[in-house]
């Protein structure tokens, strides 16, 4: 029994019904909120700028590869040019020598932009509380999401990126001007001022026989009441 023998009125799309987008009787237009549409478009087409400096970058690559597939979230294009990137993923240790490079890449990214600090080292210096290491990239650039772990699993990074998407969903167009204002005076400057950096690097007892900011001290914890976190 051929298709041509069916009665014409039973063919599914013989003639377009006098209706709208969802079939007969539905309206030919949709209403929505402008900020919803803008945020929907933004959060589903985030292009990451991979700033992978150490072991964490391997997990970031795994997150982009087929098993975990960042492309599901509209992030299939790792943008190696900061000019076309939306999310900076700092994955790994940042030594002081690299700090101005990180800052410049952040300054080169156009608004709107977000930053993910991936792993213990990027977020706090991690175990590398030493002369050469930035103690948390949030002293250099503003960070939206910190992903803990050493290294975080790809699921962790994906969860962090989904938190960025949540953050974008909550934004309102009326706030974009203030949320996304560029401050020319902040370009090439550390985000945190000296006081904040000092507070972050305060005494923090550990096994290295040193205060954070001083030279060698006694290793016995009772010698160093100033090392205890208040």
């Amino acid at each position: 029994m051929g298709l041509s023998e069916q009665p014409a009125e039973r063919l599914p799309v013989a003639s377009s019904p006098p209706g709208g987008v969802l079939g007969a009787g539905t309206p030919t237009f949709l209403t929505t909120r402008l900020d919803f549409v803008v945020n929907w478009a933004r959060r589903n087409s985030l292009w990451p700028m991979p700033f992978g400096t150490a072991c964490c970058a391997i997990e970031m690559m795994a997150a982009a590869a087929s098993n975990f597939d960042l492309a599901r979230f509209g992030m299939e294009r790792m943008s190696f040019s900061p000019r076309q990137a939306d999310v900076l993923i700092c994955a790994g240790r940042v030594p002081y020598k690299l700090a101005p490079v990180l800052r410049r890449i952040w300054d080169q990214m156009p608004q709107p932009k977000w930053a993910v600090s991936m792993g213990a080292c990027a977020s706090s210096g991690g175990v590398f509380d030493v002369y050469s290491m930035v103690q948390g990239i949030d002293t250099i650039i503003p960070v939206d999401v910190y992903v803990p772990g050493c290294p975080p699993r790809p699921e962790g990074l994906i969860y962090g990126l989904m938190m960025i998407q949540e953050k974008i969903r909550e934004e309102r167009l009326s706030e974009h001007g203030t949320l996304r204002a560029e401050d020319p005076a902040a370009v090439a400057r550390a985000r945190a001022d000296a006081e904040e950096v000092l507070a972050l690097s305060g005494p923090f007892g550990n096994s290295t026989r040193q205060n954070r900011v001083s030279g060698p001290t006694g290793s016995d914890a009772s010698d160093r009441p100033d090392d205890r976190i208040p």
Binding site: L198, T208, P216
Partner: protein, 201 residues
Amino acid sequence: MPASTTVEALRAAFPDAVVRDLVQSGDQQVVYIDPSRNAEVLDWLRTDPGERFNLLVDVTAVDYGDGRPLEVVYQLWSIPHRRALRVKCELPLSRLAIASVTALWSAANWLEREVYDLFGIEFRGHPDLRRILMPENYAEGHPLRKDFPLRGRFSRAEQTRRALSQDMEQYYMPDEMEGRGAPQLVPADESATSGSGSQGR
């Protein structure tokens, strides 16, 4: 283990430059030499037909702390004779200077810069002795010395400020990244022959 032929030959050629020798880690021959004669001795090791230590594997240094002398270490390998030799020079903390061997092996250029950067040993006659790993405006000293505090001498705030005041154009010159201005790696006569089609075979 008997002293290797290299050490015997070295003692014969430079009776007063060899301080002592020992064998470490099973078969690693180590020779301590007088630091004021390092270039002479190393040049002999490199060119003497019986030795031919033509590969400089590494130049590094060791600080044992407690005011003991710093050791500059030359790790050599003889490609023709398939032999390794470790040459050490002890430098007192009061006089951290030694002759550069860049004229003997050009591989020593960056290795000596690294030792200078991290230990503060001055290599006399080095063509370009500046920091290589630490930022150029680094002013806290030489971090691998035992008397260097783990977290540096400046506060974190000062370190952050200095880091961001680096002049990046100074380090990341397009010329340097693209290899222009780098020393020619293949000697001119060899690159001329390979350029004229002898690679095709």
